[in-house]
Symmetry: C2
Subunit: 206 residues, 2 copies
């Protein structure tokens, strides 16, 4: 399988980075090929210009590479902190620019853009790993945990990825080294069970 | 009143821009002072660096200005398209960087960052104007409309802005000039009733 890992956190010493390294290692341990994008380290430009709206827009080569890798992924892992119930802006911009028409979804012929698109991604399973400084009950009750709808319903389901698994590790700010070790082990288990060895997309090549 | 309008859309000919112009005109018509930030036109940098996490971080002057204007606002209007149940990345980054500790919220003394912050904004009312190409029932039922929680619960309520009003104009892609005229008139009504003449924050100056 091709596993695409997308990471968004500004601090290389962050627990998010540790999660990404663990996810990459676990994926490789299952025999998969891994592409890991550390969006901050790559200085990804998150600003969608008006000229990229159209499905037929001519994209800069660096953006094409991100799109090609998303299209080629058999499994996707997204890793980011919960900032305001949303991903950091740099990752939001990856969604805005890379998860684009013709790559991740398409409208039916003759649609004016108001219809129901068809998902195009070959990945069947995505894993979302979040960190947070808000205890889980408060996230649910006070904030409504919009990240759950954002990733499962707004992004992945629309693009045809129906099996979306999500875990939030919290509270990071007050966590002990032992808690973080357990969380990393949990992330490895999640990756290993989401993307088992030899489990390419059914009927490959597609 | 000081009315802060924050706009995020890449196309200057967009209906979002028309909404922002109408909101500014309506606010001025009520006798208010208006600051309008067209984040795309200003090339706002949405990337929060690790060095800005701390409440005591030294900020670049251009960012300080955004923060000062937010702190000085008696009323806030946010205008953006619904992209993936979220604001465009450039506006998400405005939240990440400008809606910051010491400006918009504060933790109690001795808190390690996991506690319940106190809202600091002087604005009592915010208005969120969205555009969408998804019909309202589908937004609610299929996507769960995360923007509702994002703005009302995750952002504004946490910062002390308790009266948050939101309108989504859809479907823009198939709208007629007559529909857009009605939507603009509706936006003017919303602004006028949210920020009536002579309605500064109670007990000013604070």
């Amino acid at each position: 399988m091709n596993i695409l890992i997308v990471l968004a956190h500004p601090d290389r010493a962050s627990f998010n980075h540790a999660l990404a390294a663990a996810a990459a290692q676990a994926s490789r341990g299952q025999g998969h090929a891994v592409v890991l994008h550390d969006l901050y380290a790559e200085a990804f430009d998150p600003i969608l210009p008006a000229g990229e709206f159209s499905k037929k827009a001519r994209l800069e080569p660096s953006l094409c590479r991100y799109c090609d890798e998303l299209a080629a992924a058999d499994g996707i892992v997204v890793i980011h902190p919960n900032w305001w119930g949303q991903p950091p802006a740099i990752l939001k911009g990856w969604v805005d620019r890379v998860v684009r028409p013709g790559v991740a979804y398409a409208f039916e012929e003759g649609d004016s853009g108001e219809g129901v698109p068809v998902g195009l991604l070959r990945a069947r399973t995505a894993l979302v790993l979040n960190t947070s400084n808000t205890p889980a009950p408060r996230e649910q009750q006070v904030f409504g945990d919009p990240l759950e709808s954002i990733w499962k319903r707004c992004v992945f389901d629309l693009c045809g990825v129906k099996d979306v698994r999500r875990r939030t590790y919290s509270v990071v700010a007050t966590s002990t080294p032992e808690m973080r070790r357990r969380w990393l082990a949990d992330a490895v288990d999640l990756v290993s069970s989401a993307f088992p060895p030899g489990a390419g997309a059914p009927g490959m090549p597609r």
